[in-house]
């Protein structure tokens, strides 16, 4: 028997290390974050202010405040509502760093990118001029950007508080009780349930591929494999969808969803409803004014 050539074994050349590519890294991070965002119930199960409330009160209360933020015409009201959001977070034992990591940084980045051109293209009083390019920022443009960013940050904070402080099952039931169409609630619930199954399938596919790869793929080969994987994943999701529907049919599903609603309003829920409505009404009244100046004029301070 011929001896095994040992030139490869003795070679001083190190094989090129295969690093996880962009898609794999993104997918793995996405799965981790999605799992954390969707399934983390550590805050929902703690004993804070929002957690103790009936889900219907939370949904109505926080949605009303979100509506106030959207309609407010002065920054004072928006900042006031932002302060309310932070107070609710503190009372509900949600650390501010969690809000920053899961909502504020992302919202600031994406809204900032959208708002940035507005600073320069809105006509108005000049604020400063960018060196080299000579673009002029205007006061009106900057104010518009501040309005947009503060509105987004505040509404995202309220939404995140609702999701973090309520079990997902209760959010769905609450929506149903509030007469949100069944189809919408069911689709939302199923998406939540199966997005992770599909993400896990995608990750397994990538890992299975990785385990059979030596060295790096060329760009075109990598794209071809990625496209094929997307096709397989799509086909698997159709298959899963079909199976789930059969399982529902097997247990009597005929296109209409029925749920058990176990919510009972207690005294603190009524008190919280009153509190939410009072804050919302106050914010709506203050929010009617275009500026702090006109507001102070109305209340006779100026």
């Amino acid at each position: 028997m011929n001896p095994v050539p040992n030139e490869n074994l003795n070679s001083t050349r190190r094989p090129k290390k295969r690093r996880r590519n962009f898609v794999e890294r993104t997918l793995a991070t996405f799965i981790r974050k999605t799992e954390r965002a969707l399934f983390a119930e550590e805050f929902a199960r703690s004993n804070g202010f929002l957690q103790r409330l009936d889900p219907r009160v939370k949904i109505i209360g926080l949605l009303t405040l979100i509506l106030d933020v959207t309609l407010a015409r002065n920054l004072f009201t928006i900042f006031f509502l932002f302060a309310v959001a932070i107070l609710l977070a503190v009372l509900s034992r949600v650390p501010v760093r969690v809000l920053a990591a899961r909502a504020w940084i992302g919202a600031l980045t994406f809204t900032g990118l959208i708002a940035l051109p507005q600073i320069f293209i809105t006509a108005g009083d000049p604020l400063f001029q960018l060196p080299l390019v000579g673009w002029t920022a205007t006061v009106q443009g900057a104010m518009g950007a501040v309005y947009l960013i503060s509105r987004v940050e505040t509404t995202v904070t309220f939404s995140l508080l609702l999701v973090l402080c309520t079990l997902w099952a209760d959010v769905l039931k609450g929506l149903r009780v509030l007469h949100v169409p069944v189809v919408f609630v069911v689709i939302l619930g199923m998406t939540y349930r199966y997005i992770f199954v599909m993400l896990e399938t995608a990750q397994n596919m990538f890992e299975a591929r990785q385990s059979r790869l030596v060295g790096a793929l060329s760009g075109s080969e990598g794209r071809r494999v990625a496209a094929a994987s997307v096709g397989v994943l799509l086909s698997k999701s159709f298959q899963l969808n079909n199976e789930v529907y059969l399982a529902m049919q097997s247990r009597g599903f005929r296109g209409e969803v029925h749920t058990l609603d176990d919510f009972v309003m207690q005294r603190r829920d009524w008190a919280a409803t009153g509190g939410f409505l009072l804050i919302a009404a106050t914010a709506a009244w203050f929010g009617r004014f275009d500026s702090l100046g006109s507001l102070l004029g109305v209340v006779g301070i100026r």
């Binding site: 097997s250 247990r251 009597g252």
Partner: protein, 273 residues
Amino acid sequence: MKNSAANVFELEDVTYRYEDQVALDGLSVAIKEHQRVAVLGANGSGKSTFLRLLDALYFPEKGTVTAFGDNLTEKAFEDEEFAFRFRRRVGLIFQNPDVQLFNPTVFDEIAFGPLQMRLSKDKIRKQVDETLDMMEISHLKHRPPHRLSGGEKKRVAIASVLILEPEVLLLDEPTAALDPKSRGRIIDFLADWGGKAKTVITATHDLDIVEAIADHCLVFQNGRIVGEGSPAEILADTELLEKTNLIHSHRHRHDSGEVHSHPYFHPSHDHKG
């Protein structure tokens, strides 16, 4: 098995195909009341399709399927009363529990079936609690199903069907991908459920569990029944089991130095050496 027992299901010359691929090919078989049937066959032999036809999730391209004396057709299932009556009497447990667990909590999952049947809400709450106790999963009541282990998921899937108190239970590979302890619990449950008074049809290729869960076996290959008999008869027929890819020969050496080959599955091992 009593010969006088009435037929629960009757299939007459049933053919079913997935596009070009024939899954069941001219199948004719009857399942009697209180019979505990093991449907054996390798992957792709038509076992799962057979169960889905029995559960009226699929309808045959050719031939007829009758359950409790009624013809199972798409038209018959347009009648809500007929559909609900059938769904209460026949329950199917899917191979992949993830498919069957689509509700946000275990409690909601088990309540799903009775809610569709529009039973009273107080009755449903009581039945869910009883079913959770029976399956020893009360501690999982408020947990989301996707966070459970494989064995726990399987027990929840079984509970979600048993709450309807079906007369016929169909199981597709109930022990697939389970650890030994979870597998043992499922087998114990299947062996005892309903005090052997109900009809249970289990599709499996796990020959180790057949004697515990069945008193009659059907062996499938390429969408046809190629063997039928008691578990003892079928398990002794190594030629049939080898032909249908349910066992394979394996070669090994004993301490005495004797090297020989025999089917991988065999009830006893008698060597002189």
